[in-house]
């Protein structure tokens, strides 16, 4: 029985790893799931930090996934990560278990720390907030690429 313990434990850990590898978590504040693997492709839905998607395929840096609501589309690989369960994972949470970006959500240098810092720093964040609001639509970016013969419309990739 004892001899069986280690192989069973290893099998469970490997199975958990395989299953976890198929589920990805969104690590950016917000991103779009797109209808094709390019940044200016129409959005299927908006994904927020911590949302899960099931990976069903990949093409270059893009991941094809399914949302929990069953919507299918593409997200860029830099917007998601595989939750990590390894002992040697890069970050360790306060509970003693290893964790990832999502498990550390809101911890460390966060909004509460920024608010606390603001009280003493006497800094104006008006333009930082305005800057954060600058957003170029997918349609405008595609027009910009097309007009300037960039990316797929010119010499880029």
């Amino acid at each position: 029985m004892k001899k069986l313990f280690l192989p069973i434990l290893l099998a469970v850990l490997i199975a958990a790893g395989v299953m976890a590898a198929e589920t990805l978590k969104v690590t950016v504040k917000t991103t779009k799931m797109r209808s094709s693997p390019k940044f200016y492709a129409p959005a299927v839905t908006t994904l927020n930090f911590g949302d899960s998607i099931q990976k069903i395929g990949e093409q270059g840096d893009w991941i094809q996934g399914l949302t929990t609501a069953g919507l299918q589309g593409w997200v860029h690989g830099s917007a998601v990560e595989e939750p990590s369960f390894s002992l040697t994972a890069r970050r360790t949470s306060g509970t003693g278990t290893t964790a990832d970006e999502v498990a550390l959500a809101g911890k460390g240098f966060n909004e509460q720390v920024e608010q606390s810092y603001k009280k003493t720093a006497n800094l104006d964040y008006t333009w930082v907030d305005r800057m954060s609001q600058i957003s170029i639509s997918e349609e405008d970016m595609e027009r910009f690429f097309k007009e300037g013969k960039l990316g797929e419309y010119g010499g880029g990739r």
């Binding site: 690590t27 950016v28 504040k29 991103t31 940044f39 930090f49 840096d61 860029h76 830099s78 917007a79 002992l87 040697t88 890069r90 970050r91 360790t92 949470s93 306060g94 509970t95 003693g96 970006e101 550390l104 959500a105 809101g106 911890k107 460390g108 240098f109 966060n110 909004e111 509460q112 720390v113 920024e114 606390s116 810092y117 003493t120 720093a121 800094l123 104006d124 964040y125 333009w127 930082v128 305005r130 800057m131 954060s132 600058i134 957003s135 170029i136 405008d140 970016m141 910009f144 690429f145 007009e147 300037g148 013969k149 960039l150 990316g151 419309y153 010119g154 010499g155 880029g156 990739r157």
Partner: protein, 297 residues
């Protein structure tokens, strides 16, 4: 006995992995006591060092909050240039080169702003807040040059050069709170400790960006990334060459960019060698030059 040794070894490994501040002394003691072998000691040391190093690796969200305050400090020194058309255009060029970067999706996205200053300068704050002065913009003759500069700044963000400026002690203080506190809302003592570490980290980054500048090696790395990102987007590699040549011809060499960057001539040499070795193209589409003139001119 064997069972006890194995249990002790596992406990030792787990505690060493769980404690980033552990020194190699602990493993040396365990080795001397015969609990672990020399080989085991070496491999535990390697993992412990890896965990320790990982403390420099802040989450994207923390990078974003650091970047917001670094950007606020920059905007405290340099006013924003209020021109919506130009802001939109600069953001389109910057976004285009970010698409082909190593980190196209970051926590809060990339945002670009022109600073109302004659000084020739550009700043890349962590978290994707990127600034270019009117002075530097005026040295650009076309969209290729602007794309080269913005891709260089995106390169600094992707390589996390700003975060690397933070002294390890600040991170250790911050992670000390993070490791012991499971709640996302901190009590006064924890908040005070984190705020002090945050303040210190901001000081380290701003000092690097505005006063000392990045290392020569980091600047060359950002140039290499710029060439890769801009040409992947379809821009001519000559854009970065042109912008460096224009800077090199500038008479305003005593401040800003010139104070914090290696001499443009030195960078030009490296950039030309990189273009030649990678075979980057230099085809400029007139439509891009035309729209640059309309937005910037």
């Amino acid at each position: 006995m064997k069972k006890t040794t194995l249990t002790l070894s596992i406990l030792a490994v787990v505690s060493i992995l769980a404690c980033a501040t552990v020194s190699k002394m602990s493993t040396t003691v365990l080795e001397k006591q015969g609990v672990i072998s020399e080989e085991q000691k070496d491999s535990i040391d390697k993992v412990a060092v890896a965990v320790e190093h990982s403390f420099e690796d802040l989450t994207e969200e923390q990078e974003y909050y650091l970047g917001r305050s670094v950007a606020a400090k920059i905007l405290n020194q340099y006013p924003a240039y209020q021109n919506d058309r130009l802001t939109t255009y600069v953001n389109k060029v910057g976004t285009a080169v970010s698409y082909t970067s190593d980190r196209p999706e970051i926590y809060g996205g990339y945002h670009f702003l022109v600073l109302d200053s004659e000084e020739i300068n550009a700043f890349a704050c962590p978290g994707g807040f990127i600034f270019i002065t009117r002075g530097l913009l005026s040295t650009c003759r076309d969209e290729e040059a602007l794309a080269g500069i913005l891709a260089h700044e995106v390169g600094h963000v992707c390589a996390k050069h700003g975060l690397k400026a933070i002294k390890k002690s600040r991170l250790m203080d911050a992670f000390d709170v993070l490791l012991t506190e499971t709640s996302k809302h901190y009590n006064q003592e924890e908040l005070s400790k984190l705020t002090n570490a945050f303040d210190g980290a901001l000081g380290d980054i701003v000092d690097q960006l505005v006063v000392k500048g990045y290392s020569r090696q980091q600047e060359y790395e950002a140039d290499q990334l710029s060439l890769r990102y801009a040409t992947a987007a379809g821009y001519a590699a000559s854009g970065l060459v042109e912008s460096l040549e224009n800077m090199s011809a500038s008479t305003d060499t005593g401040m800003g960019f010139f104070k914090t960057h290696p001499a443009p001539q030195d960078r030009l040499e490296q950039v030309r060698a990189e273009i030649s070795s990678k075979g980057y193209g230099s085809s400029v589409d007139p439509a891009r030059t035309k729209r640059f003139g309309q937005a910037v001119g």
